[in-house]
Assembly symmetry: C2
Homo-oligomer: 171 residues x 2
């Protein structure tokens, strides 16, 4: 996925939530534009070390160029409250077999993103959260398979409980 226009001070925690949500819901990694942020890379590294997997994070100075290059091999989905409602387009997106780049913005997304995207998709037409929109989109794209994902090399694993916390050390 691509998180557009990260600003260290304002977005620190929200962008970390975007990264960890995309990891938990099976994305391979996150590109982000705007400010380069070592704290974000550290957060992702620590989560990978503890909880497994090889989620990638990479700063990109030119997000529009990334999107144009991606379109040579795959499709681009832009999540925006102005797009077509998810239920109208999700079947078509699921059927498409090409690699997918999911884009979420901050405040001001340039008009070019709306033009370059293969799908502009809304998760309700109300203002809420790029994290919430991303989670629901990926949940529907995966048809709930995020609940069965394995993260290789995890040091810790949660054992689900009706009450309380149980965490196993796996190595």
């Amino acid at each position: 996925m691509l998180r557009f226009s990260h600003r260290v001070e304002r977005d620190k925690r929200v962008t970390a939530h975007v990264a960890l949500t995309s990891r938990a819901f099976g994305c391979r990694g996150m590109y982000y534009s705007g400010d380069a942020d070592p704290g974000l890379h550290r957060t992702v590294r620590e989560v990978n070390e503890r909880w497994g997997g090889e989620f990638l994070i990479q700063h990109v100075p030119e997000p529009l160029q990334l999107v144009r290059e991606w379109k040579r091999k795959g499709k681009v989905i832009h999540l925006t409250m102005y797009g077509l409602p998810l239920p109208q387009v999700i079947d078509e997106i699921r059927r498409d077999g090409l690699p997918k780049l999911v884009v979420v913005g901050g405040e001001k997304v340039p008009a070019e993103f709306f033009q370059l995207a293969d799908w502009n998709v809304s998760i309700t037409c109300q203002p809420h959260s790029e994290v919430g929109a991303l989670a629901v989109f990926l949940h529907e794209l995966l048809e709930g398979r995020e609940f069965g994902l394995e993260f290789k090399g995890a040091r810790l694993r949660v054992v689900p409980q009706a009450r309380g916390k149980r965490v196993e050390e796996t190595r």
Copy 2:
């Protein structure tokens, strides 16, 4: 819903995302504990004025007391990566006809919440985001009906587009 332990500096934007996500997905309002935050109330008021509805926001100094009182009339669902996976419990929760309080925490949720909750529910057992967890939980609870919600008295309404933005003034 109840957002536990808000801290103005650290959580300002994430708690605003929690509030707006719960509004967009049909919650009646949000209680929050921790720091009282006038900026949060202002954000909610502005969104209600523009986009409609009567989403409520209220600071509560004693969240455990709120949860205990709620349990006299309804049920409590606590979203946590340590709980039972959503697919195991969602049918039971949907069938339950009582008013529901959904609780999401910040960093450290006291053990009492796990004990008081009628359901501790995980949206994957990976660390990610209370915003993402809340969105997926409410999406499943509503079975997608959030896409058809009406917000009364809205001044603005999005007209979904395949490309670009279209917003109508409704009054």
